[in-house]
Symmetry: D2
Subunit: 440 residues, 4 copies
């Protein structure tokens, strides 16, 4: 009685024997195939167990990812395409590399093509060619950031994209991208189903902000906050190096403050973390500017981390604009705060020195660190297992240390955010010592 | 009906109000105190849920760590000691720093002392003095590896150690160390109980090998395999840089191959991973040396990672020797393999070039990376919460993304090892392409 | 017959025996004291030798730095002050550390104070206190960027500063800073001389841009272009990751392009380097924008490095403004170029994607790399040798692998710039492949 | 009247116009060709100038490297080979990359082959194939350590190697290697001359130890001591982390202690530096072991750096053995010292804890840092300029900030060593505080 929303779609019955030499019994020293029935609990508290037991309710759970005994696609006849969309994120090349390696060496699929510059590569007018992806070609790419396929923002015409897949005899499409990309992937899979085609569309969620629902962590996120940590460490030198020195660092985080919060917890010199989930005032007795001045008077320096999507309520309302990916285009809170601090302190003739740091592209373009590299590899391998078993319209997720398959609509339903009542945010407050609220 | 083995001991009733300003209700925007009843499931599979529901069995679960509303110790009267034991591990200074910071700034405890050179520091004949630990003193130590307290191996006389604690009016002792240290901590807590004293002894598990039971990950482990990854990346250059070039890297892993396995998964150039959990032969038709030669003949280079405790069955039996910590002293498989390869290939006049790399102390002495730094901080804070609430004879663990309290006897019952039938090991086999078994 | 301009001023006759146990004869295995007569040639070409020989002209040469046999100051009675001025630069803490260590351990001078926040610290109205600098306090600071003394821009009232030195019985003042700071140091030494005081003022040139005359390299410069190299490496990923992708990196270089040029030579993916020494046009048939578009049409990506002081001729003329240090405040060429590219390509409906990266404070606040650390140490030690020997109004320089003493007026006479006809610039042109000129 | 020893051999008259578009006049904004007459002084002291002027002696000078106006080889007819010999050294791939790039893009030479596994690749019995080297193939190799060509130790039959060059119509051979390799290159150039062939043989000196005469620095050396610096920084944690803790680090340095000395100067925690140039005793009243114990008793920890070739006088004499490159095979002083310390302290029942670290291959296999990358590039470009101008039997050197051409016999005449009376060694003594001598 699994909740329908959490049930992954299949292209059809699986009848092809997997070329992987795994087992179905325990104790023979060989890893077992994962069955479609293996599932991972969403809520792993004892109290939820007791509640469900009492009410008879079925707890929410996710399908466990992994190699299936029977495949939908016959390896010898399968052709695969890979596309990367949206902004750069550490680990893209690792994912591409591992998809190619897993397809080639484990499933013996040699026809793998790369689609260039995101979904544009599936639209003829852009005239981007395909790239043949071989193990030789991808061997060393994981040491470099970026994506060898190029990327672009925004969705494209769904029927034409499906035409392209069809005309090129693509059987499996891996879409690596954020929630816009995943919505596009879902549209593709619906159009494919409507046409009665048998093409698997698998999403590999890429969000440097780590803000996709029901997914514990996304690739590149740890690398992102790790690099941010080093930048914060040094920015602290700028703050203490001047009288009333302020270092203001804008980090990524369009709708959520996960990078800001985690970077802060890994380098505990930050005095203020300002995130999109948080309401605050600039002016007034308990406002941020008053608070900042008080700190400077006491300690003579301050280190501020602000997530790019924070403080949108401070801007004059107006028409909402969106970028090519459909993301609401946020006003730049970093430069805004810089100006407001200057305005306030110059007006009050309060001496200060502010250094503004925006490391966004430095972080996005970096290579994945060790833990992310491992994660990307396993994520990609599980994407291949799912695709070969005929799953479609789903993403590969990660929950409580297990890889999962999750229908795209569930994954993109709403962005994951920091709960201000959670342990994570409390830890940030404890670490920074900043007031619980900065408004009257 | 929680299984007794998993129930944490308490010094007594908690009646002191916590100085932390938290909440007990949801929805007020303030983090809630954690109650002793909140627990985390050990097995988070749906099938275990269904089984337990059917059989009425209570699933195994761990007490959730976190700040309690009522404390056992009155902050103003509390004196705390910290000791670090065993070999270096990245993150020791981070743990020390966060203990001091949390005690000082959150619980307003200013009397914190550091015991020097491990348990030796509690024994008078060694004559090591105590160190007063202040926020100022520990402020920057997390940027450095090692431990500012110094360390030593081995346990010491338990009654005398308790005498020292008693004579110095210590109320809480944090023991940071491996399973030998934790066993010692348990002995201390038993002796304390036998004397009717009220001293909390809290273990903070330190194992660079990540081999403590019921604990998902230990601090320093990620840093360790991350540094190993970089070393493997470059060692690959040594292997391909010579005709029949072999790079042989010995990594840590006394009884388990977690570092070797994870480093391999994060840098996929390794051809053979040899771990303690694995049986293998050197000679014979399917033995390692034959296999290695075959690879060299085909590819002209090979990259081998061996965990320090692997292949003990290959040594002549004899009296088992132990180090000061009580760990069985393993023979050095790294140099042994190096010699055996030389012996074999020189005998057969097979030209080769072998480079041997033992980065052990380079890894152990490094500073924690960003993710480990965050982890150490939260681990230490939860150790403080537990101690203040009068818990004793327990360690702070981590399971399914939650910090836990775990009785020491459970944690040290048996060392965590890689199951050769698990997904982790299968991933290693897939990545390296090494044979499932290397014995006849 | 040494040219007067290159002769270093002395406070008086040196009659105190140095506490360093060095030698005056060769062959005894002990390093020899350096005499004031040892000098290093400015021009080390054979042709200059031949020319001078023929004409009888004395070649330009610099006094060699190093320990002198006789000192001007008696260590036991000497009190020393250190001040850091201007923007951050990697290595400041290394210099401070080595000054303190050399004074303490070699010359047995224990009274060393740090002046806070630059020259402000010598002016009473700012009310910044002095810091006692001990070996213990500075032991680990070289692992961190920034300056533990704090800094500020701008000169202060010279007579009052001399009053402060006099009132505090300071015998030696080390001024670490750029050319503004050094000019200030020269003014101090003149005022001191006018008052008949015996205070040595020694400048330690700090210019991340490496633009001080007659000095081969300044500390922090290598660290700066090394970090820039890594940022360029990753920025390349942003450029190739988009169709007509442009990565535009603004590096330091107010009046000279040394950082931009050296970073480019160490990471050869850059396509255009734009520096202050260079004249160029934006528009027109051979202008930069046309050139850029041509490249994008051919290669679909471009990587541009621009030094912050480049292209000032492109801005509307107006009143020149200066910062507190007296540096001409340059308009921001980085954002200007970004806007101009956008303007041009949007107007022409040429699709492109531009990522702008300004790593300035990330670089300035970093710790010194290994080679700079060594350099800072030796630089500081030579500053101490010079001061103890009564030299004043001079800086410690470096030329043809030897440390030198150089009168301040010579060092600040004009800023070192890249000669567009030099091998360095030619190497940049060869590496980037950019046109020799980008103007009609 | 240039000293013959310093005069570079030429294959013949140069009559081909260079395809580089340089200038011969100053002031036109274009870099000038370098003439064969431009030379760099060896001794750049003023006193040497005065002495030579007085005696009429011609000072020693080196031919300046750089692009010549007339070439010996016609680009369209030129075929080039590259070989790498000996142990790994950071920067090998950078040199290969820049040779290929310079030949292709500047001199329009497309026929460039790589010889595999050192000189073996020129001998038929080894059966190593040639590799075509294209810009595409070498584009990213500078980000990786090692050599894509592979390497081997030892010289091979000179006539057969020349046969191979001749049979394959090679016009230019670049030999990248240490002094053994360079001697081999000289033999090749002599044999070529004897046969009346016109093949240029250019050596690019590779010595991680930086021990080649008349050459200021060799590529990879800075990277080597920079990595060593980080290892020393962390090894210090091992030393202070134990009671009477000793960290013993063996660094490279077969006959000279440059790496040990420079690493020490860049990370000033080292207490003893032991190098090949230095005589010392283990036992006796002023011997190293007594000295070490004294320090431990006072400070409770010690950090020792030993160069691999140090202390050879301590070993029992016996037959000298050599490695394939002809280097005297040194006994392992690192493990020897470790054993002797253990022997002494265990005998005397002096408690201690020793950690032994040998990072040799970790350092050798690393990628070049930024400064070395730049250096490798310019070094390779100057090698190409020299070869195209028909120079042969020479190496590309570096002196007083200029690239030079130097006859091989001069370069390999004797290994550069640390003069114990020099400033460098004095700086080491000052930094470590170790006794000037450790013998009675």
């Amino acid at each position: 009685m699994i909740n329908d929303d959490f049930t992954v779609k299949m292209l059809g019955r699986c009848s092809v024997a997997s070329p992987l030499k795994l087992s179905s019994i325990s104790g023979d020293g060989v890893f077992n195939y994962i069955t479609d029935e293996e599932r991972v609990l969403y809520d792993n508290s004892l109290s939820n167990f007791l509640k469900c037991k009492e009410t008879g309710e079925m707890p929410i759970s996710f399908e466990k990812a992994g190699p299936r005994e029977k495949l939908f696609f016959e390896p010898a006849k399968t052709k695969v395409a890979i596309v990367t969309c949206g902004g750069l994120c550490p680990g893209l090349n690792n994912v591409i590399r591992s998809l190619v390696m897993e397809l080639n060496y484990r499933y013996k699929i040699t026809r793998v093509i790369g689609i260039q510059y995101g979904y544009e590569g599936l639209i003829s007018k852009y005239n981007h060619s395909f790239i043949d992806l071989t193990p030789k070609m991808v061997e060393n790419i994981s040491l470099m950031g970026g994506t060898i396929l190029g990327s672009s923002r925004g969705n494209q015409d769904v029927p034409e994209m499906v035409d392209t897949l069809e005309n090129n005899n693509i059987n499996i499409l891996f879409c690596i991208g954020g929630d816009g990309t995943l919505r596009g992937a879902n549209d593709l899979s619906n159009e494919i189903a409507a046409r009665g085609l048998k093409i698997s569309v698998i999403g590999i969620p890429k969000t440097i902000d780590n803000d996709i629902g029901y997914i514990e962590k996304s690739f590149g996120f740890e690398t992102a906050f790790s690099i941010a940590r080093d930048i914060i460490r040094d920015a602290h030198n700028e703050a203490v190096g001047a009288y009333n020195g302020i270092a203001l660092i804008k980090l990524m985080g369009r709708d959520s403050g996960f990078i800001a919060a985690n970077a802060t917890l890994s380098m505990q010199e930050v005095n203020y973390v300002i995130i999109p989930e948080m309401d605050f005032e600039l002016h007034g007795g308990r406002g941020f500017l008053k608070e900042l001045r008080k700190r400077l008077e006491e300690r003579r320096h301050a280190l501020i981390v602000v997530a790019e999507g924070a403080g949108q309520h401070l801007f004059e309302s107006g028409d909402v604009t969106k970028d090519a990916s459909g993301n609401v285009k946020h006003k730049d809170i970093g430069l805004f705060l810089k100006d407001k601090i200057a305005e306030e302190f110059e007006h009050k003739k309060f001496p200060y020195s502010l250094k503004y740091i925006d490391p966004s592209y430095i972080i996005r373009s970096a290579a994945a660190n060790a833990n992310d590299s491992k994660f990307c590899s396993l994520l990609a391998q599980n994407a291949v297992h799912g695709a070969m078993a005929g799953k479609t319209g789903c993403v590969v997720g990660y929950w409580n240390h297990a890889f999962t398959y999750l229908p795209i609509p569930i994954a993109v339903k709403e962005r994951k955010k920091i709960n201000l009542e959670s342990e994570l945010w409390w830890n940030v407050l404890e670490t920074t010592g900043q007031p619980v609220t900065m408004k009257t």
